[in-house]
Symmetry: C2
Subunit: 327 residues, 2 copies
């Protein structure tokens, strides 16, 4: 059976939400969950819950890495942090995967240093269908690969193709380069150079795409460097909230208050990228590590665990290794 | 009085919308409008309208530059295009400003070659409060400055400050660099180098901002290169439509059909960036040229003309010239 280490302290809502997610996946699917965090807090919350006690293990980890800690420094100074202990469990083979809604930087640093990176990877990439219910296009990198050489972008293309084909089940995924226009001569130097590499590669490259195409059925995998990807991801969050607030005020004129409330709640629930997304894998790490949004609640954390299981089943790490070697 | 050359053929809806906008500004404000385009079409539409005939001049221009024409080639091969004739009217001093909802590339090429660029400017920048009713933060460049040196970004900072202070009337506008995090050591090489320049400059530089901050009251002017800016602008359009469609389907469960229709229309009207925005100036050109979205309808085109008037009144071109020299 599948076992996962869950960073119980990770995420804005703390152990109450992570433990809820753990109970959901052991009850619904019979997975084994290692809850890694402050034991006293975890035990308190578990005390009045009903569940199969053989499927939950509590691993004490007292340190917590905060969002604004320097990840590498934190790794040295807080060796008993929950994310580090969680990754250690994967390293020693006790669990099949790690899931954390805590600091992405800390997860990346822990995973890179403890599990190691695949050959040809300089730092993990993050991506997936990051736009929640608005689009299932896989886009990467949205992480910390900020100054990318064209060959790195090509690596993202290979990774995205594996994800789209094996996690989403798409046939021969179409790969596009995110650009300011669709013509082959468009873009900055980085993208023009990458275009040539992609064209010669074994990927199903359809050329340049524009950002509107992320919301159409033109492409399955969209490639950009982490600088743009991360800006787009945070922009999505910002514009989502701005639009929801705007709608709330503009419908107040003609909808009765109880329907405004209902509409507002409905939109907030369904449009919340953090809720729907459930996070994505750290690509290029030698193991399965899923990182998610700090604002994730239990449903979304449980989705992250299901994604980890799917990645485990298809042997995502091996597939990516092969894809990067081939491309 | 103020006179403007309006590219009557520019925009997706053709002369019917541009002429509607022209009639609006001559009736409401008494401006003089030179309608530049295919005379027979324009005269047909004008035939049954009532207006002060001394305030409208029709200038025949038979060629039309299409969106996918190469702008520089089109300038040579279609000398009688409406945008070229419109810019010529500004060059010879017949009009105070030019407004076009046609091909942005063609406007940029015409304006750069015919009017010339200010010293220190390599190609025009585009920007302004591009997010419609969602945010009044000025962001630039959203145009075609794709590989920007830090000094170019600093120039955008100076331009954005002028726009925010003199067009929007803000006091001592706060300028931020769009980045993946707010710490001073964040970002790619381009932004790190720019950070140092901005810090030493006379601008009211508040440091790095994240894309969520475009929707808060943290900053008045957000600076990025045209590659990212243009991707963000098109992304906004894409996500706007995706969200509107999504909302339409999610409220159908609990709202009566006539309210769904009303909601849908309300949102589509108020959220439409093209409708609300009305376009922005080509910054760095030696003259006032406003370019807008191809999907603009008459209200938005009229807004573009009002923006041109405001830019004329404050002597935007001179202010930008001085700001770039100073910074």
């Amino acid at each position: 059976m599948f076992s996962v280490a869950l960073d119980a302290m990770g995420g804005d809502y703390g152990p109450s939400e992570t433990i809820e997610a753990a109970l959901k996946v052991i009850n619904d699917y019979g997975y084994t969950v290692y809850l890694v965090g402050v034991e006293s807090q975890i035990s308190n919350i578990l005390a009045d819950k009903h569940y199969d006690k053989s499927l939950i293990h509590v691993i004490n980890a007292d340190d917590v890495i905060e969002d604004n800690d320097n990840p590498l420094k934190a790794l040295r100074e807080k060796p008993n942090a929950s994310i580090i202990q969680a990754v250690n469990l994967a390293k020693e083979g006790t669990v099949d995967a790690v899931v954390s809604m805590g600091s992405t930087g800390a997860s990346m640093a822990s995973a890179s240093l403890i599990l190691g990176l695949l050959e040809g990877i300089e730092r993990p990439a993050i991506g997936g269908p990051m736009l929640g219910s608005l689009s299932d296009v896989v886009f990467l990198d949205v992480g910390s690969n900020l100054d990318c050489r064209p060959s790195q972008l090509l690596g993202f293309g290979a990774i995205g193709t594996v994800f789209s084909a094996n996690i989403q089940g798409k046939n021969n995924p179409r790969v596009g380069l995110l650009n300011v226009g669709t013509e082959s001569n468009k873009g900055n130097k980085q993208i023009k150079d990458a275009y040539e590499l992609f064209e010669k590669s074994s990927l199903n490259f359809i050329g340049n795409i524009e950002s509107v195409d992320l919301f159409s059925d033109k492409v399955d995998v969209a490639i950009c460097d982490g600088f743009i990807g991360n800006i787009l991801l945070k922009y999505t969050e910002g514009i989502g909230y701005a639009i929801i607030n705007k709608i709330g005020s503009m419908v107040a004129d003609f909808l009765p208050p109880e329907l405004v409330q209902k509409l507002y709640k409905e939109i907030a629930d369904k449009m919340n990228v953090a809720e729907v997304g459930g996070g994505g894998p750290l690509f290029g790490v030698n193991g399965i590590v899923i990182v998610g949004h700090g604002r994730s609640k239990s449903d979304s954390i449980a989705n992250g665990i299901l994604l980890a299981k799917r990645a485990y089943d298809v042997e995502l790490t091996n597939l990516i290794k092969k894809a990067i070697d081939t491309v």
